[in-house]
Subunit: 328 residues, 2 copies
């Protein structure tokens, strides 16, 4: 793909009616587009997407659409759809940006957070965007890692309903409305992250955070261990991170580095007890960092409270940025 500032592109979105798809469409209004094509499952038949004040019909996803010459195809419809359709795309000039987990850990596929490893973006025409929680975790850790070299991360997450898709989001809303009439499960409750456990009893989300991080940071020796929990929050995930570094740190330097790093906003007023919350981070592009403090129980170790909109930087925005850095 040649970089040409006056060039306009033919773009397809697979999963256009999903939560990530819809965020992506909002972001694409600033992208140089020749034509935007929206695809979804048969359930979305007869639906329309409003894009730049024009109605775009949502088309059913079929094999034959991949014969068209798109410049970019964004896959936001989950692992099964990516696995089934991406290998059918033969046009090597088409850039495929995939938000699913299917290709993420494959060796030849770059797994990209543009602030961290955009230099790998052109390795392949398929580019994976990482797990949302992994993105939120690594964005503030990476600049510190460059300086101090991370040794071990202990992460406990507080994940929003929308991370589980429209169904789970609507379930929380519906059950909350109903709660005062009858009791139900999801409102006012927590869940351990609703993915299968492996043999060592780690959930898929926890494994993703570990493996994807190692790949993105290109460092197999970093130790990452997580407990992922779903909280009754509509949008924006939160992470409680305890991070040990190999090199000598100081709190002053930590602040300085974070303050000067891309995509991050330090958000705290310790005197007024104001810190980042999911409400504050919702609909924001930046990852919010709060409660920055030394952990006195371990040398060169800090705590961070990190909150970010998992649908934006955790998914749609990261994909959009990948596309942007391909054309600029």
């Amino acid at each position: 793909m040649k970089k040409n500032p006056s060039m306009k592109y033919k773009i397809a979105i697979i999963g256009a009616t999903g939560l990530v798809g819809q965020e992506l469409i909002k972001l694409l209004k600033d992208f140089p587009i020749k034509k935007l094509s929206c695809f979804a499952s048969l359930k979305s038949k007869n639906k329309f997407i409003i894009f730049k004040n024009k109605k775009i019909e949502v088309q059913p996803l079929q094999k034959k659409i991949f014969k068209k010459n798109f410049d970019f195809i964004f896959f936001t419809a989950g692992e099964k759809i990516s696995k089934k359709y991406i290998p059918l795309i033969k046009n090597k000039n088409c850039k495929i940006i995939d938000s699913s987990s299917y290709f993420r850990l494959k060796k030849e596929i770059p797994l990209i957070i543009p602030e961290i490893n955009s230099h790998l973006i052109k390795k392949n025409n398929i580019i994976s965007s990482p797990n949302c929680t992994t993105i939120l975790m690594l964005l503030p850790i990476y600049p510190l890692h460059k300086k101090f070299k991370v040794k071990r991360i202990i992460a406990s997450t507080y994940q929003a309903a929308s991370g589980g898709g429209i169904k789970l989001l609507n379930k929380l809303k519906k059950e909350t409305k109903e709660h005062f009439k009858k009791s139900n499960e999801y409102v006012f409750n927590l869940f351990l992250h609703d993915s299968k456990l492996n043999k060592k009893k780690y959930s898929e989300e926890e494994v993703k955070m570990e493996k994807e991080s190692k790949k993105i940071l290109n460092d197999k020796n970093i130790k990452i261990s997580a407990t992922c929990v779903r909280v009754p929050i509509l949008r924006a995930h939160s992470l409680s991170l305890n991070i040990e570094f190999s090199k000598n740190i100081s709190l002053k330097k930590i602040y300085e580095i974070l303050k000067n790093s891309e995509g991050i906003k330090i958000f705290e007023d310790c005197k007024k007890n104001i810190f980042a919350t999911p409400k504050i981070a919702t609909n924001k592009d930046k990852i919010f960092v709060s409660r920055i403090r030394l952990d006195p129980t371990k040398k060169n170790t800090i705590w961070l409270w990190v909150v970010g909109d998992q649908l934006l930087k955790g998914a749609a925005l990261n994909m959009y940025q990948i596309a942007k850095s391909l054309i600029l």
Copy 2:
């Protein structure tokens, strides 16, 4: 206080209309009581408590009431009330069980979780009951600590609204009801624990978890570092704990010890993805333990997901058990 199985006791509850006070009154129906007196602030004037099918008038808290010969006085009205009134009590035969933080770290005052250190219960007529989150954390850790000696604990908490008292609980309920009409702060949101930060930027709750634990476990060398977060849950706190031991552990032994320990219930079905949640732990006496697994990033380290009703074992039940072990 002499132990006498046929003896009946005069009992006072300070803060009888509060969340902990009300739980305590429910528990006391099985206690050998001669007379139960209920005290609260003037706001609770003309209120009644139903106890064993009898109406008990809630009396205003005044200095003169402490001249009466109570056998037990339970303080559940917070730090200021405990600080102001407990020193006025001159009757050395009266056992004062205090749920506030005011006396907890004073050297001469025992800080008791009966399953852990009930042998210290008779040291003083004032007995402190620990911070709710500290109780929930230590109950499952203690039996493991006895066997393997804890080296370091990393805790991330998920705390219910009711831990902040009736006001916060009602705020969450009210705002949730209103949410679909207008936006507000507490519903569908998280907060860093709403207590002041110290110079090292740790909140009071985080400091309590550290200092109280060291005192209860009688070990200053244990390293404890926590991030405490309020979640939109009505009742029951949750903790994500990463625990490093000094001695060699095995997962089998960990299960065996936890299975045979008092006050704990292992609650997990890894195949069906069923784990302890706040809803499951609400109104239960036991502390629920889930997601028991090794942390492969550190030798002799495990994860536990711990959920408990902070009003029961975290407060009222612990106080009740202290009283019980004084009479049995």
